[in-house]
Symmetry: D2
Amino acid sequence: MNGNRFGRLFQVTTFGESHGEAMGCTISGCPAGLELSEEDIQADLDRRKPGQSMITTSRGEPDDVSIKSGIQDGYTTGTPIGLVIQNKDARSGKYEPFITAPRPSHGDFTYSAKFGTRNWGGGGRSSARETVNWVAAGAIAKKLLAREGVELKAHVNQIGDVEAPEVSFEEMLEHSEENDVRCVHPETADEMQALIEEYQEEGDSIGGSIYFEAQGVPVGLGAPRFDSLSARLGQAMMAVPATTAFEFGLGTEAAEWTGKDRNDDWEFDEEGNPTPVENDHGGIQGGISSGEPIYGEVTLHAPTSIPKSQQTADWETGELKEEKVIGRHDPVLPPRGVPVVEAMLALTLVDFMLLSGRLNPDRVDDQPGEYDTDYHPSNPQNE
Amino acid sequence: MNGNRFGRLFQVTTFGESHGEAMGCTISGCPAGLELSEEDIQADLDRRKPGQSMITTSRGEPDDVSIKSGIQDGYTTGTPIGLVIQNKDARSGKYEPFITAPRPSHGDFTYSAKFGTRNWGGGGRSSARETVNWVAAGAIAKKLLAREGVELKAHVNQIGDVEAPEVSFEEMLEHSEENDVRCVHPETADEMQALIEEYQEEGDSIGGSIYFEAQGVPVGLGAPRFDSLSARLGQAMMAVPATTAFEFGLGTEAAEWTGKDRNDDWEFDEEGNPTPVENDHGGIQGGISSGEPIYGEVTLHAPTSIPKSQQTADWETGELKEEKVIGRHDPVLPPRGVPVVEAMLALTLVDFMLLSGRLNPDRVDDQPGEYDTDYHPSNPQNE
Amino acid sequence: MNGNRFGRLFQVTTFGESHGEAMGCTISGCPAGLELSEEDIQADLDRRKPGQSMITTSRGEPDDVSIKSGIQDGYTTGTPIGLVIQNKDARSGKYEPFITAPRPSHGDFTYSAKFGTRNWGGGGRSSARETVNWVAAGAIAKKLLAREGVELKAHVNQIGDVEAPEVSFEEMLEHSEENDVRCVHPETADEMQALIEEYQEEGDSIGGSIYFEAQGVPVGLGAPRFDSLSARLGQAMMAVPATTAFEFGLGTEAAEWTGKDRNDDWEFDEEGNPTPVENDHGGIQGGISSGEPIYGEVTLHAPTSIPKSQQTADWETGELKEEKVIGRHDPVLPPRGVPVVEAMLALTLVDFMLLSGRLNPDRVDDQPGEYDTDYHPSNPQNE
Amino acid sequence: MNGNRFGRLFQVTTFGESHGEAMGCTISGCPAGLELSEEDIQADLDRRKPGQSMITTSRGEPDDVSIKSGIQDGYTTGTPIGLVIQNKDARSGKYEPFITAPRPSHGDFTYSAKFGTRNWGGGGRSSARETVNWVAAGAIAKKLLAREGVELKAHVNQIGDVEAPEVSFEEMLEHSEENDVRCVHPETADEMQALIEEYQEEGDSIGGSIYFEAQGVPVGLGAPRFDSLSARLGQAMMAVPATTAFEFGLGTEAAEWTGKDRNDDWEFDEEGNPTPVENDHGGIQGGISSGEPIYGEVTLHAPTSIPKSQQTADWETGELKEEKVIGRHDPVLPPRGVPVVEAMLALTLVDFMLLSGRLNPDRVDDQPGEYDTDYHPSNPQNE
């Protein structure tokens, strides 16, 4: 209820503030027997970390993850995985003007109003720095999903008014890391980069959106009604900092489509099972996966911390004042948001895999409920 | 996990299939002392019920709600409220062609794939008929919110390519029930009506969207991160049948706004507290309410059950066939979806009111934790 | 949080007051494909129902259960099962003296203090009548467990100072329904019966205890720490009305045993797997099942509603008064508590079976995650 | 579901294995504005830590707690509190004989059977070392409760067949830390000490029990049915490692009491509210607190790790063998269990305080829902 837990069977519980001592999370419900090292997690953290390019904040955080529990001899043990990531480059001084005079459209005011206090350095708990935990947990979820043949990927498909053309999943897998913007389409990426730099130079920032897609999701994943795949994805994605819209399938365009046009007729696949002719339904029907790719889009508004002068109201002095937010901030969010969106997609899907019994909640290598004394990676003799 | 429960402190647990014997839900966590009668609930059920106009299904359901528990002498007792609504006009025969040959883009196939079976009459559990439970529970949530000064309303702001101009909250309160389309703007409503009838005559259906707004939401409601107001609204709204997009504040448009333009400066309100100059942030900052109106939009795709001929694949016979869905169906969803969206908004907000301690979880009339033997509406002498 | 929900994957949500219109519950998370009829549930309800013998309340309730949803062609569909049981013989008049003058040691005062009101007829929500819902849900849990080879049974092993000798599980299965006391040992049952009648004649009541046992529980069920089998059984059993103690294995006697005596050495079973030589550990080690029978005991205090005169304090008049509780009440609880304890044991175990993936959460007949269009009990052609 | 989370509004999520790198927990739902330092937590950790006397394990762990988040200027911020405790004195070597040959009645076999692996050093996740997290979280809960006038305490009231006479709450507060056994009654403590040393010398261990009591619990705390105070205490206490019985009020003795004897008549307190004449009901009626002290008892079996030779079955070699458990182990659990039982009592009660709205979930210093910009301990000017 405190907002720091995600998931039902695969649960992530996080802690940490932007300028606190450390970030961390506990993953509960990861089955035993998954080969897992800090490197597996680090790869995704590096995609999210600050300072990776000219269009991200210059804060210098290595974001080295340390696994504190839940691993034996390189494999998960089925017990909680504790992760800690030290904060190393926090400089809170520049936030002092905003202690009692909230930054426009940031969480400064609402956190203080709710809690009567807040950790103000770097945005504290409200900072997107917290998503470092999500990406760490998401990396584990991705590893579990990959074993089951589920692949997922995101890329930046819009910055300001620059939109990318449609790209294939294969292109996404291959090209999404090739430029700083994380847009699969190289020409569009160049345009986006130019646009971002333009706003950056003006001391402003700009919004954008991220397209995501998952393939290999088995038929029948999800649940009716309140826990539908679309509802749980909705929660997951709307939790991503700065998100103002979540769409799947046709998204907002569906308002203009007729039933006949949007409906996907049925045919048979090679194994003789019904399969939709097209995928205007976005891989989800009645809240449950159809076996087609699940795809959608997340809109992120422009970063609120900008060097341009803005008006704030100091509740301590009772005075209005003009302030510039001087810290180190991103001029645009989607490029670093890509691994965050992927993480939330992965966490949502792996949870449903466990809920459907497709993943053995106790151990990955066996059928659910099997009991097999032969298999013991914790046994040194087995190594 | 079964998809039939919504809410954390104010919980709704539902049951029922479209052509089953009855629909029903249990409301847990409603504080004691709220005056409540079946009429309070019926009013919203009547806005949702079938057969209310030419552009809704002709199924004849009175949707009379019966309160089975949780009320004493006209007031809630703090214990679970059991509601039952009989199904009276179910005619399953017309669904027989689809038992093993799924309707395009409906939940027929995915339910069968997940459960190995399904209640096929009228869509069974996957039917939007289930939202009768949501609206019933939502009516109670609205009554609680009204006591705390929170008002909310929705209306249809788009059907096909016909969009309504912006309307004020006051107009919504006053005019949203004045036409069958439930669009506050009369001329647009006429256009929408004409468009719907056109598709209806062709045996087709059309999509649309619903705008919602809540006023009087206190400052500081919500939670950081995964349980932010926006994340929980995201889940709530994406659970509404046929939803393909959820937006709040600027929604998808935020992609094109700069930080400077979207950021809302601060000024002081009459009591000397900081308040945003505008509300481009949609009433939520850092996942927590700012005191400004919360507004947004939900896109609903066109109904999938249409009388036009479509191709389906019969997994029993292995044959492709052309079928028309003959039952009684809506040609468009938003008009009846308005009370459903309001219900989900109300359920989400009342839950946060309880979670924040603003509503006494035990009894509405007192400060939380107070203990007062004088107040006993269950005492006949007090009547 | 409202106290009317039990279970994590197999969830029961209840409503109803002793003298309200109806009792009811919704079962969420029961897999599809289980053959289920009202008769399956009725059998256990009849064991719990009032008026079944001279030593139970004379209230005349047939306790006929009606299934409102979740069943198609005699099989569960995987969607919520709604059950309703009408109350037919409520006579609230005799409770009027206690509206503002609480019965000693009943929930009258605490409910009123918490909620500022209460349904006072027959104890309202605090009445043990509510366990009719538990037994109904438990009957479904038992059917699921039986498919997996898990059997469970309870019997009355103590009334006042009359204790039954140890009995075997086979004797429990065979003889527990042979007398009104529900004690497997016939001579002890006679003694108990005589003792109960003695107190009944005096206008008093007496306590007792129930022994329970489950066999066939697979190795490895449960979870570490807070969700251990023993912790979850503790919650389940301590929820049984009037319970003051829960024990498993050696229970309170374990205080006097040494480690050497209580520890159970290991040997090999026929399949070459380690198995404990004895079962002083009660079938649970480290919170997880060992494969040995799980057994324990629940103590129920004497019914508080007795015809003997007792002192109460009327908060309306400010006067002390002597009152006799005249309604129709049980002189002892364990005989009717036996099916309630079995129900809570079954609900706890079936939940762990689902959590461990041993039961396919989607459908009972298949391996988790399998997708098989051939199996469709909802298809009339298959019948 | 993974067993590492306790609580509903005040949630503790733990990680760590006995011989892993670190133990840790995240506390979610602690209101803002509570003064809190590492010293507050350390005091209770020191009561639980190993090596504190001759009758505890000689493992040398300072158990220094480090707060990683959730505190600003010495006060809680309402956001998650991350705690980490390094493991410093782990010597796993002595556990090698038991990797594939489980210790009798420990969790070795069941963990391996469930997960197909386990962290075997020192018992890994199944070790009572994990309760260091519980005690840390419990210390915060106690501080919150103390503000509301709720006090609680536990002491050892039985070791083997040596039982302590009844002691008053005041004696418990004053004397429970005066001897190594943590028994309030000095003569009994001496007897207990002698008995423990006797078993210790023999290479054996012995069971015992802990009495707990809470005073100042407000009237009306708890919930009906499944979430009753007794049910939730049942779960909490049965989660304590080695617990085999939980009793409250008369406990198992209630079986022999009549209704007339056990029932507590009502009188008026000084403020004219009904109050029970006695407290045979243990402070809980109908699952809800009566305002009387809540008291009960927890039985802990003898430690299973003993230096005496025992038979185990090696599933790798298929051979039976005799082994002594050589590590550093406690000969008896209750003395170090006292702070653990207190922690679980505190965590349960604070959760109910939040659920009842008696504690403002957002900030301790204000009425729930109040919004007050004056109060800002995070504002350096306020210091």
